[in-house]
Amino acid sequence: MRYHLAGLVGVVMLAAPAAAQAPAQLNDLEMAHAAVTASAIDIAYAHLALAFSENPAVREFAETMIRDHSAVNGQVAALARRLNVQAQDNAFSRQLLAQAADTKDDLSRLRGAEFDRAYVENEVAYHRAVNGVVADAFIPNVENAEVRQAFEGALGIFRAHQQHAEQLAQRVARGR
């Protein structure tokens, strides 16, 4: 059975169902919550990779995802403390978590090269989707200048991750 994880993530992120808010309609604190949630999800995916992958390049990528997304979330938390605000939970964040739970279940059933391919393909699709939301929905609509600057910095990081995932996907497809 082939798991089409990438498409699932892309559809969820770009066409939020009626029960969830559209990303562009979130306020600054809700956007911050969604961004932290998206990073936490990728950290969780990375922990799966460390549990199930024996491919050194995949494991190194997963460790980088943990390091970098933890740093992004730390920056958001520090900014929130300085501004004396708290990120707000919202329907969009909850939808992300629900879909991520399904993706983790699917990934957890795989092993070996099949896991590696599915994990990396999901990383490519996930970062593409997240980058689209941050670039097209969050940054143009965020009100606070410091929050916008934080999103712009995070987008640079996430784009580097996408590039890394794309190169890794080619390598994994060649069986390396």
Binding site: T64, A71, V72, A160, Q167
Partner: protein, 97 residues
């Protein structure tokens, strides 16, 4: 006065110098750095995520935390290539003049 000028000229030509590389926006800036043997290169990580400065065959800690610096005294060599182990697209070169 001529002796002082000569001493400055000697210092400019002979004394080891310091060179700076910024690690910023997932790139080493400048990506190609010219330095002399004996110079000290200082890498400063201006990103919020950790990077590495990794040279082939150099057995020492290479991780550079956000806001931290990493130093290398340039050996007698030709061209030294380095990269970030965490982010493989990041590469740099030191051309030893």
């Amino acid at each position: 006065m001529r002796i002082i000028a000569a001493l400055f000229a000697f210092a400019a030509c002979g004394a080891p110098g310091s060179r700076d590389v910024a690690i910023r926006e997932f790139a080493y800036q400048p990506p190609v750095l010219h330095a002399a043997s004996g110079d000290t290169i200082v890498w400063t990580n201006q990103d919020i995520v950790p990077h590495t400065v990794t040279f082939e065959g150099l057995d020492r800690p290479d991780s550079v935390a956000a806001g931290a610096t990493w130093r290398l005294v340039v050996p007698a060599s030709d061209t030294l290539r380095y990269w970030c182990r965490y982010h493989p697209a990041m590469t740099g070169v030191v051309v030893v003049d």
